[in-house]
Chain length 306, copies 2
C-alpha cells in the first residue's frame, strides 16, 4: 500500500496571501521545512482570486465543498469549477490523491494562531490534540450550525484549517508567515513521530465549541448601524461577562447589551470583526470553552488513515 | 457672493468603509457634528466599489483626477466616469460647486491619524497648520514624485486627505470612526473660527516631505521574495537609523539593509505595508521630517477662498 499523502493548501481565499507566499518560498528552498521524508503536495486553493487579491471571484471556495453544488453541472461559477478540479486531482482516485489536508488561512480578527475543526471527526481531533500539546494552539470547533457549510477540509478523510491573525487582507507580514512556518514544521514533525511511534498523546483537549454567530445591529433598511463595542474588539478568546456590550453606535438609542442577545455571560467570542464575514452577516461567533478527555481511538483512527 | 461650500468625501476607495459609514450615521443624525451653520455637501467617492467592498472597479479613483485622462473621451473606465461626474457636480460651475474638499481615507499601515497634502498650496498648508495645532496631527507632504498622480483633492482650489489607520480593509472599527468624527468636527470648528476671526495660527508646521517610495525585494521573475522586516513593520513615523533593515526573507542570501537602498539613516518611513500599495510596487515611502515657519499669507489665501 502506497504511503498516504498530505495536501498543504494556502490561498483558498485569494486575499489571504501569507501562506501561499510561504509555500512559494518553500518551493524555491526546500530546506526551509524538515519534512522528514513525509510525502506531500502543496497547492494554491484559488489562484485566480489570488492574482486579483480578492477573497473569491464568484463565490467563497471554502463554502463550495458539498455534493449538491459540486454535482450540479449547471453551476459553473469559477470556484465550483475550481473545487471540482481540486477534488479531481487530490480527492479519491485523483492523480495526487491525498488523505490529509491542511488548509492555511489568515484573518483580520485578533485570533492569534489557532486550529479550526468542522465536527468531531476522530482523526481531526487527534491532530488538534497533538498540535495543542506541542504549540498550545486553541481550537475552534465549528458544528451544529448549517448557516455555513461546504468547507474544503470536510471533503477529505482528515483535514483541519489553521487560522492566523490578525493581519489585513493583502498584507504580507513576517509574524503571520513565521507562524505558518512553525505550524507546518510541527505537522511534518508530528507525522514523523506517528510513523516512528514516538509521540506523546495528551490526556485532555480544550475546545471552543460553536454556539452561534451574531450579526451586526442593523436599521430598518438592513444597514449596519452599530460597530463592535471598542471594549470587545480584539478580545477574541476572552470570555464575556454579564456586563459585556457587544455593539455600540451613534444612530441608536441604547447600547446593545447582553439582554438583547440572550447572553449567558460566559461565552467566548471568536472571529470578532473578521472583514470577510460582514457580507455573511457575522460580526462575531460565540463559543463555549470545554475541556474534554482525549480518546486513544482518535490516534488509532489517524494512524489507520496513514 | 454666495458662501463657498465644503465637500466631505468618504469611500473614494470602496473598501475603506469607516468614513462612509460615519457619513451615513451623520445623515441620519445631523446633531452628531456641530457644523456651526457652515454649508457643506457630503458624498461617497466610489459607491459601486463600496458596494462590492473593493478599492476600485477598473482603476484607482484617487489617481484619475488629471486632465489627460478626464478629457480622453475614449476612456470610459468606471472610475473615470465617476471622476468626471464628481467634477461635474462639485467642481467649478457644478450644481453643488465646492471650494474645499476633505477626503477621508483609512490605511492598513500603522499611520494613526494624519493629514496628506499634495504639493505646497498655501491654503492646504494653512488648514494643515491649524489641524496640527488643534489635534497634533502629523503631515505627510507628497511632492516631486510623478510615479503617483491624479489625486482627487488636487482638482479643487483647496483640499486635503485625512488618513486613519491601522485598520484592515472592510473592517468597521470604532477607533477609526471616532477619529474621523473628531477630525470632521475640528474642521467645522476651524471654519467657524476663521469666519469669526477667532483663530490662533501657529508659528511652525512640522511636515514629513516625500523623498521616494521603495518597492518590495523581488526575484528575477518579479515575484516578491522578502517581507518588511519585523523590526520595521508598524513603525511608521519613527526615523530609521543606519542599521535599519528594511526587508528580510527566506529565499535570499542576505538581509536587505541600508546600503542596498542608499539610506541616509534618518529617513522617516510612512505607509509601511499598506495593502493597496503592493500592486503599485510600494512597500513603504521614505520622508524627511522638517519644521517650517508658517506664513500668514497661507491664512490670507485660505480666507480669500471662503
Amino acid at each position: 500500500m502506497s504511503e498516504k499523502k498530505l495536501l498543504i493548501l494556502g490561498g483558498t481565499h485569494g486575499n489571504e496571501i501569507n501562506a501561499p507566499w510561504l509555500l512559494k518560498q518553500w518551493q524555491n528552498k526546500p530546506s526551509l521545512i524538515d519534512t522528514h521524508g513525509i510525502k506531500f503536495f502543496s497547492d494554491i486553493g484559488n489562484p485566480l482570486a489570488m492574482e486579483k487579491c480578492l477573497r473569491y471571484i464568484d463565490m467563497d471556495l471554502n463554502r463550495t465543498f458539498y455534493s449538491e453544488i459540486l454535482q450540479d453541472l449547471n453551476n459553473n461559477a469559477y470556484e465550483v469549477l475550481r473545487a471540482r478540479s481540486i477534488n479531481h486531482i487530490y480527492g479519491k482516485g485523483g492523480s495526487k490523491q491525498s488523505q490529509f489536508v491542511f488548509d492555511f488561512h489568515s484573518t483580520t480578527a485578533n485570533m492569534g494562531t489557532c486550529i479550526v475543526l468542522y465536527g468531531r471527526r476522530p482523526a481531526d481531533l487527534a491532530i488538534a490534540s497533538f498540535l495543542q500539546y506541542e504549540l498550545g494552539l486553541p481550537v475552534y470547533l465549528y458544528e451544529k450550525d448549517l448557516t455555513q457549510k461546504g468547507f474544503l477540509v470536510e471533503y477529505w478523510p482528515c483535514g483541519i484549517v489553521v487560522e492566523i491573525g490578525p493581519v489585513a487582507q493583502g498584507v504580507l507580514c513576517e509574524r503571520i508567515v513565521s507562524q505558518t512556518l512553525l505550524v507546518l514544521s510541527t505537522i511534518f514533525n508530528l507525522f514523523h513521530k506517528l510513523k516512528k511511534q514516538l509521540f506523546t498523546f495528551p490526556e485532555t483537549l480544550i475546545i471552543h465549541s460553536h454556539l452561534r454567530s451574531v450579526d451586526f445591529p442593523r436599521d430598518g433598511n438592513g444597514n449596519i448601524n452599530g460597530f463592535v463595542h471598542p471594549n470587545l474588539d480584539g478580545k477574541d478568546w476572552l470570555p464575556l461577562n454579564k456586563d459585556t456590550c457587544l455593539f455600540s453606535g451613534y444612530d441608536i438609542e441604547e447600547k446593545f447589551n447582553e439582554s438583547k442577545y440572550s447572553l449567558m455571560g460566559s461565552e467566548v467570542p471568536l472571529f470578532i470583526n473578521e472583514a470577510a464575514y460582514r457580507e455573511k452577516g457575522i460580526a462575531l461567533s460565540l463559543t463555549r470553552k470545554e475541556t474534554i478527555m482525549t480518546d486513544r481511538k482518535w490516534v488509532d483512527e489517524l494512524i489507520s488513515l496513514m
